[in-house]
Subunit: 201 residues, 2 copies
């Protein structure tokens, strides 16, 4: 019966159409130029916020005098969702570190510091397993133009490898993710050693 065939065909169309629209919207993935530069992740301020540091430094002798600085960390929503489920990062994770100027007194604020409209560089840590031999790479942006990968000889790679709590990322400074990694048992060997050493002090 021709009649039933058409009805079945249309029913299949209904099914396919509705399934297509149930797919999640395509996620954020790192995009590169033809010469392997990373494109600036322009919507990162609408990604999931992880934390903010104030005047953080690995160097105790670092002097900033009257100058203060905030750094805000964001991650693409798909990677955040996977971290919450698994305690570690999926392929195509992008972590963004935004440096931002600090103001002191201003408007009704009399003490402490608030963030200024001035950004002071954006650094991106990308997990792209097929592209980077060490799975992850760093890129530093001065503006919204594409950026060249920081060479793997730079100290950021060895420091992250030697000290970061989860998969070369500093989850020990991300307050909502640290308890998840602890429960999921995804701490790096280096970080387990650091915890054990500080417990003996």
């Amino acid at each position: 019966m021709m009649y039933n065939a058409k009805v079945i065909l249309l029913s299949l169309m209904v099914l396919l159409t509705s399934t297509a629209f149930q797919q999640p919207t395509p996620g954020v993935v790192p995009e590169y130029t033809a010469d392997a530069q990373l494109k600036f992740p322009e919507h990162y301020r609408q990604w999931v916020y992880l934390t903010t540091g104030f005047d953080m430094s690995y160097n105790p002798a670092m002097q900033m005098a009257d100058h203060h600085m905030f750094d805000n960390v964001f991650v693409n929503p798909e990677a955040y969702k996977t971290f919450v489920e698994t305690g570690t990062w999926p392929d195509k994770t992008m972590l963004v570190l935004e440096g931002r100027g600090a103001e002191g007194k201003g408007s009704i604020n009399q003490k402490g510091n608030y963030q200024s409209t001035e950004t002071m560089g954006v650094e991106v840590h990308v997990k792209d397993e097929a592209r980077f031999p060490g799975k992850w790479a760093f890129f530093a942006f001065d503006d919204a133009k594409p950026a060249t990968m920081i060479p793997t000889t730079a100290s950021c790679y060895s420091c992250h490898a030697d000290h970061a709590a989860v998969d070369t990322t500093f989850v020990q400074f991300y307050p909502t993710l640290l308890p998840i990694a602890k429960v999921k048992g995804t701490f790096s060997a280096a970080y387990r050693k650091e915890i054990a050493a500080s417990a003996q002090k």
Copy 2:
């Protein structure tokens, strides 16, 4: 022709089904208990991040000794989108202020401060025009239980009304929104006066 009627009916179903799936997911709106308490906005950490303050205070004499504190501000994504388009907040806006402890030395950090896993209260500023005579209301949460509205006689209402840059909110401390409000011309009369006064100094 019965046959065509069925085809038309099924085509309509395809259209309706696909339209339904094209609708955006329902947005965040403030939810209340039967006795008018505000329910805790449990997913606020996945909303849009606005800024972080460090040890901010309206009181110059405020002493915190060795104790430091961060406060992080988030807004529901629909309200953020409207602010970017219009320079002000729509009905059902929810701004969340999360207080968070500050750590100093720890792991590889030698200077400055990072955020701890300890939250120190969550305050919510809600715009709900039909519900609150002054359009906005404040609620303070100690935990994830519903919270009672802070009475309008509290100083937060008068301070926000007298000093906030846009629609009783402190957009002067939100670095990505301040330039938008300036361009859209949505500064409050009080904030215009403050800018004029500080320009004359």
